[in-house]
């Protein structure tokens, strides 16, 4: 495995490239939060992940850049923020044509 490249800023163009994919030949990179819905489930406290903390910070920056007036519970906005951050995190291989086929 090689080191990932630095992450560029999230812009509206990032969101377009993340979402406008050619579904028959390109995957959609996405970060999924892991949550426990079991009643009474307790987990040992996990140390804050440096990688996760960085992603969370970038989600806040992306939210401000893309949807600054969106509600915290606007799930459409949550999806867009995660798609854009996911794309810059691990889905942008540098030669994407923006989804054109």
């Amino acid at each position: 495995m090689t080191e990932p490249r630095p992450h560029p800023a999230v812009t509206l163009e990032t969101l377009r490239r993340a979402q406008d994919r050619a579904f028959n030949k390109e995957g959609i990179p996405m970060i999924l939060a892991l949550v426990d819905e079991r009643s009474g489930a307790t987990r040992p406290p996990a140390p804050t992940s440096g990688e996760g903390a960085g992603l969370a910070d970038r989600m806040g920056v992306a939210k401000t850049a893309l949807l600054p007036t969106a509600r915290d519970d606007d799930m459409g906005g949550v999806i867009s923020v995660l798609q854009a951050v996911s794309f810059t995190d691990f889905g942008d291989h540098g030669d994407d044509d923006g989804g054109a086929t």
Partner: protein, 226 residues
């Protein structure tokens, strides 16, 4: 119950409670080369991830292997997921997830294109030959030996499409019974059309849990439910 907010997602991700997936739909043979190249590129910076590691992370609160990982997910139950995507994943040593619409699998071959067109399952021209375009149960059983296969409802339905007792059984419980019988394993997860999250409807949540699933996969979360 987890709040469906940006803050809740940020909090979980900040703790390290997240995983990276790459969502695919159909993978026609004409795109095999591009798919292989794309998966190889993900492998340059991310390792494959087994489902056992996710179970373990929920039990221990930490990842056994902290290196960045990813999971490709091939939705719907296309035949080419089994004949094109899976062999590439096998060659590259990648564990993939295959959420399958079991009604697509059960549909007579002659109706499968119309079924796809009627249930938001996208096709490309090379699939429109009149031949089988959905996975077979034998292919599902074979995939389950090396990958993670689980139901994506029977009819590619969303929460709003499921209201009666008959629909609950047909779309949630019966797909698991059929899949478990075919694979000899317990399908670990369920996913709705549109990736609806846990907490949208108590009745639907309870039906998913009662059917025996341990996880609900949504657009933005993996919910451990049992």
């Amino acid at each position: 119950m987890t709040h469906l907010t940006l803050s809740a997602h940020r909090d979980a991700i900040a703790r390290g409670d997240f995983l990276r997936v790459v969502n695919y739909h159909n993978t026609p043979a004409s795109s095999a080369k591009e798919l292989r190249v794309e998966l190889e590129r993900y492998l340059e910076t991310h390792r494959p991830l087994s489902f056992d590691e996710i179970d373990l992370a929920f039990e221990t609160g930490r990842w056994a292997d902290p290196r960045p990982a990813f999971v490709p997910v091939f939705y719907e139950g296309y035949r080419n997921s089994a004949t094109v995507a899976a062999p590439i994943c096998d060659e590259l040593g990648i564990t993939a997830w295959f959420p399958v619409c079991t009604g697509f699998v059960d549909c007579p071959v002659g109706e499968q294109e119309a079924f796809a067109r009627s249930h938001f399952i996208g096709l490309v021209p090379e699939e429109m030959t009149g031949e089988r375009i959905a996975m077979s149960w034998d292919e599902i059983a074979d995939l389950a030996q090396r990958h993670v296969v689980f139901p994506h409802t029977a009819s590619h339905y969303g929460i709003a499409d499921v209201a009666t007792d008959e629909e609950f059984d047909r779309e949630i419980a019966e797909p698991k019974r059929r899949m478990d019988a075919a694979t000899g394993r317990s399908a670990p997860a369920f996913v709705w059309l549109h990736g609806s999250a846990w907490g949208m409807s108590p009745r639907h949540d309870e039906a998913v849990r009662a059917a025996g699933y341990r996880y609900l996969v949504s657009n933005t979360m993996v919910h451990r439910i049992a």
